[in-house]
């Protein structure tokens, strides 16, 4: 690490996350005073975007090599009142809560009180959404059957493809002009909408060019006043870059990174999309620039490394926008989920690992930052060296990179209807979600709690926590004489809640398309220009809506416990089970232990338990997969939790598997914490009984004690584990390499463990920033030993 990078990194780590009112005030000001009433919504959004970029303060830090900040300073986080209007109480909570804090000052609170809240009250998307959904939706949402991704953040999952490396914005504006000229007002009934959309995209493109030029002017001034000749030269070079990109296509490695970064800042300024924004296959996109610059003597490998590290720090300077309420619980983190993909295969299906892949892995290893997150895509065509290099970084205990199966991702995407080339150029983003990078709007819509639905099923459609009816009456559990009756009732409830969720999605997607188009982001997602349609309205080549199933382990073990204890060995009957659940096993600890110890459970390669897992999967899949969304695409499932299994657990009573009321659910497709007793191969075999190819991503967490990574046999063993799991079509696996003693010490003494990063669920986070419940759960996850 160069001294400069060390300094920038430290600044990024030490800066506290704070809120900035700048954007909210610019947005408010624009709409109050400047907006023309005659502009269509999409044009108004584009002009608003232009206004923000023209007026916002510029920040160019000493020594920076990549420029552009969303807020006025690193980790100063803007708000998005048009999506979610924070109340004074929200601001106080964000300021004071012990974890994932966002500081704010009196000026910000006054601005909110006096200007932002009075204007936005009643106008935010959050309010529009809650007003538009129906009573069934609200009942299920409030009961904790599902969550809603779009209630505080705009539709996300936008991973960039290769477009910016090939084309400058001037070129894209030329395409826009040609598309407008080619509009057919005689035979195309949507011609006017397309013209508005394309005009807005042109304004947005111009806005980013102007924003880059503002940087150029500022950099030139800095260069003129810079006493250090080398830095002055650097500033002048950077000014030159900001004059060329993003107007023109990048010619050098440095220009490519700076171009991406301007686009990144633009996307996350336009709105606060879920799963931020992401350059995706960075080792593929940058390779031609890297090789060309090296050959021409314009760049050395150490210089490239320094530029990449400066680029990494920019991500870390941008914590996720603040979340409150259920959304804060389902995704309780500063992480904004940019996930750099390394490795995999090329569009033609060849091994894509290259020298830049390894350089990027070095950057990951050295930077040890929360953001961006990183993963490797492991194809059967990639060498073991690649996987071993990744495992060497994993063993340092910081949870990155996670490991994905390229062949599974490609099959998943092709099954969903993508071309094989587009699938190969795709990858995983956010936590584990598959998508065709640069060509797909694949929007996560909410988590879906399968254990909560089982609880509702066992109570004939009533949520026992509140006594409210939330689902249909599917029969009294006490009357069932066969296990199959339970499964039929459960399937009906799953179908009901999937219906309710999908109906809500179809409303919410249209609300976004109508009120919150994203003409800037649409510039970069093919085929939005060609179709003249917005990213939110089906302009992308592929359009998917995901619903993320949660608690597969808990629901499988619960069903297994009912079958085994009630219907097979008749340890107790159904009324007794309901009583045990109602009393949270009070006074029945010995019985609860027997249930925990003796029930066949998921994660042990046990056919009886795993067959129920497969049955639940089929029920959930059938309820969701292939059902149309509003954007010309379809709903799909995936299986991942972020931190929602804690929240869902908190609103779910005791479950038949012996889990106590309020305890976390199992996460991702991992077994219930501590249920797997037969080692990692049994877990992987069980997990592979899910048909991963029919999902859009699954998340499997494996915790290992550090010793396993210490010798050659251990490393080879892990290589074998990963390769075997992927041969069985497993989608993703991540390793947590920390021992319980270390975590306990960190709980007792958080201050000396600020840098302890652990894998949570599809992302890494600072251990000391996790809630006590989540900390406890990380410790509880079975640590596998090797023998």
């Amino acid at each position: 690490m160069t001294p400069r990078i060390r300094r920038l990194r430290r600044q990024s780590l030490e800066a506290p996350a704070s809120l900035s009112a700048e954007r909210a005030l610019l947005v408010t000001d624009y709409l109050q005073r400047l907006a023309s009433a005659g502009d269509p919504v999409v044009v108004q959004r584009a002009k608003l975007f232009r206004h923000i970029l023209a007026e916002k303060a510029l920040h160019i830090g000493p020594g920076e090599l990549i420029v552009g900040e969303r807020g006025p300073a690193p980790k100063a986080v803007p708000t998005f009142p048009e999506i979610c209007l924070h109340s004074p109480e929200d601001l106080a909570l964000l300021h004071e809560r012990p974890k994932v804090t966002y500081r704010s000052d009196d000026d910000l609170r006054r601005a909110y009180r006096e200007r932002i809240i009075p204007f936005w009250q009643g106008r935010s998307m959050r309010e529009k959404i809650f007003a538009a959904v129906d009573a069934d939706w609200r009942a299920a949402y409030e009961a904790g059957v599902f969550t809603e991704f779009m209630e505080q953040r705009a539709p996300g999952h936008t991973v960039l493809g290769d477009i910016i490396y090939r084309r400058g914005l001037d070129d894209l504006r030329g395409e826009i002009a040609a598309a407008i000229a080619a509009l057919d007002f005689f035979d195309d009934p949507l011609a006017l909408d397309r013209r508005d959309q394309l005009a807005a995209m042109d304004i947005a493109a111009g806005a980013l060019i102007a924003y880059a030029r503002r940087h150029a002017v500022h950099l030139e001034k800095l260069a003129a006043g810079e006493p250090d000749a080398r830095r002055a030269e650097e500033l002048a070079a950077l000014a030159g870059i900001c004059r060329r990109v993003p107007a023109a296509a990048p010619a050098t490695f440095w220009e490519a990174l700076q171009y991406y970064w301007f686009v990144h800042v633009g996307v996350i300024t336009e709105l606060n999309p879920w799963d931020a924004f992401n350059p995706g296959r960075l080792d593929q996109h940058l390779l031609p620039f890297y090789r060309r610059d090296l050959a021409a003597g314009r760049l050395t490998a150490p210089q490239a490394r320094e530029l990449l590290q400066a680029f990494w720090i920019k991500f870390n300077n941008h914590p996720a926008p603040p979340k409150v309420g259920v959304t804060a619980k389902e995704s309780n983190t500063y992480v904004d989920f940019a996930l750099i993909n390394l490795g995999g295969v090329t569009a033609q299906g060849r091994d894509a690992v290259n020298e830049l892949t390894y350089l990027l892995l070095e950057v990951v290893e050295e930077m040890r930052l929360l953001q961006p997150s990183s993963m490797i895509q492991l194809s059967r065509k990639n060498p073991d060296r690649f996987l071993r290099r990744a495992l060497e970084i994993v063993r340092t205990g910081y949870g990155q990179p996670s490991i994905f199966n390229t062949e599974a991702i490609v099959q998943e995407l092709v099954r969903q209807g993508k071309s094989v080339e587009d699938a190969r150029c795709g990858g995983a983003s956010g936590c584990v979600e598959s998508g065709a990078f640069g060509r797909e709007a694949y929007i996560l819509t909410g988590y879906f709690s399968l254990p909560k639905i089982l609880e509702v099923t066992l109570h004939n459609g009533i949520d026992p926590r509140t006594g409210r009816r939330v689902g249909p009456a599917t029969g009294a559990a006490a009357d069932w004489t066969r296990f199959e009756e339970l499964m039929e009732a459960f399937a009906r409830q799953v179908r009901h809640f999937a219906d309710v969720k999908i109906k809500g999605n179809n409303i919410i997607e249209r609300l976004y398309a109508r009120h919150m188009p994203v003409p800037f982001m649409s510039l970069f997602i093919e085929d939005c220009i060609a179709t003249g349609r917005d990213y939110t309205a089906g302009g992308a080549r592929y359009n998917t809506s995901y619903i993320q199933g949660v608690g597969l382990g808990t629901v499988t073990d619960s069903l297994s416990a009912i079958r085994f204890n009630v219907f097979e060995r008749r340890l107790f009957d159904m009324p007794r089970l309901l009583e045990l659940l109602a009393t949270d096993y009070h006074g029945a600890e010995a019985l609860r232990r027997r249930i925990l110890e003796e029930t066949p459970r998921y994660g042990n390669d046990d056919e009886a338990a795993d067959a129920l897992l497969a049955a639940v999967f089929e029920i959930y899949y059938a309820a969701v997969d292939g059902r149309p969304n509003t954007r010309g695409g379809a709903h799909r499932i995936n299986l991942l939790p972020t931190t929602v299994h804690i929240y869902f657990g908190s609103v779910t009573g005791a479950t038949p598997d012996g889990r106590k009321a309020g305890a976390p659910l199992s996460e991702g497709i991992s077994p219930v914490q501590g249920a797997d007793r037969r080692g990692p191969t049994a877990v992987l075999r069980s997990a592979a009984k899910i048909d991963h190819i029919r999902t859009g991503g699954t998340l499997l967490n494996q915790k290992f004690i550090p010793q396993i990574f210490e010798d050659e046999a251990g490393l080879q063993g892990l290589v074998g584990l990963v390769r075997s799991y992927f041969r069985m079509d497993g989608h993703h696996i991540q390793f947590n390499v920390v021992d319980a003693a270390t975590l306990r010490r960190a709980q007792e003494d958080p201050d000396s463990h600020r840098d302890l990063i652990v894998r949570v669920a599809g992302y890494s986070d600072y251990f000391v920033d996790l809630t006590p419940e989540l900390q406890e759960e990380i410790i509880q996850r079975t640590a596998h030993e090797a023998f």
Binding site: P680, T681, I708, A713, Q716, G720, A786, F787
Partner: protein, 266 residues
């Protein structure tokens, strides 16, 4: 498949230190030796026995757990074959350990043949203390011998393991002479096996074999201490500390000096 049954006291999946790749190690119960440093004392007695759980305070009957269960070859194979994909991918297989697996010759022979038929790589972790004809019968179905060598002096061997080392040394020489793939494993037990005299004699013996084998030096560890308590038995080693890095290196040098390929750890 053979109807022969055997007594197994543990079956460990994802075993990565018992031969190449990812393996399942099958622990057969019963051993003619009683080494002071034995780290699987629950494998010594041939019959199932009571052992208390890891968290129980003391006494074998506290929260009873029976060590050892009877398994058919077919039942054993079904469990082993669940992990075939891991063996295939990593170049792993099955390891028979114990106890002394050669002490259940019928079961071991049948299980090894069944593994062979299933196309699995087989390893035999043995003390070598068995009649030659027993060894000769199973040897063709073993791909790799993990062969323990402890003490070269017969008196010392008798005292610390309860048996003579003559059959062990003779069997080892025979295996080497018949071209079997061998890795010799020597436990470095402080004050018992780690003196220069014993190690030098072992190194000389191994270097003199028809084909010099690879040597793995296994450092004594205390992981087993708890097992003695749970079996309600006294631990013969008391609180002996594991060997330090210098002792390990000194031992390694003795074998390296004879030109033997040697490593610490298995």
């Amino acid at each position: 498949m053979s109807a022969v049954k055997g007594i197994v006291f543990d079956l460990k999946k994802f075993a990565i230190h018992d031969g190449p790749g990812i393996r399942t190690t099958v622990f057969l119960k019963g051993c003619p030796l009683a080494c002071w440093w034995c780290h699987n004392p629950e494998g010594q007695a041939p019959r199932p026995e009571a052992m208390c759980g890891p968290r129980a305070a003391a006494g074998p009957m506290a929260t009873g757990e029976t060590v050892g269960r009877t398994l058919s070859v077919a039942g054993l194979l079904a469990e082993i074959e669940k992990d075939t994909i891991f063996y295939d991918t990593s170049g792993g297989g099955v390891t028979f350990s114990g106890g002394e697996p050669l002490a259940q010759p019928e079961f071991l022979g049948a299980a090894l043949s069944a593994c062979r038929q299933a196309g699995l790589h087989t390893a035999l972790d043995t003390s070598g203390y068995a009649p030659r004809d027993v060894l000769a019968r199973v040897a063709p179905a073993v791909d790799l011998f993990l062969y323990d060598l402890k003490l070269m002096d017969d008196q010392r061997h008798r005292r610390c393991t309860g048996v003579s080392n003559h059959p062990i040394l003779e069997n080892l020489a025979w295996l080497a002479a018949t071209g079997r793939t061998l890795a010799v494993r020597l436990p470095l037990v402080p004050g018992i096996t780690d003196d220069a005299e014993n190690l030098g004699a072992a190194a000389d013996f191994l270097a003199g074999l028809q084909r010099a084998p690879r040597v793995d030096l296994l450092a004594y560890h205390r992981i087993h201490n708890d097992k003695y308590r749970r079996l309600g038995r006294a631990n013969p080693m008391g609180d002996t500390a594991p060997p330090g890095a210098a002792a390990l290196e000194a031992a390694r040098a003795i074998f390296a000096a004879r030109g033997l390929p040697v490593s610490i750890g298995g």
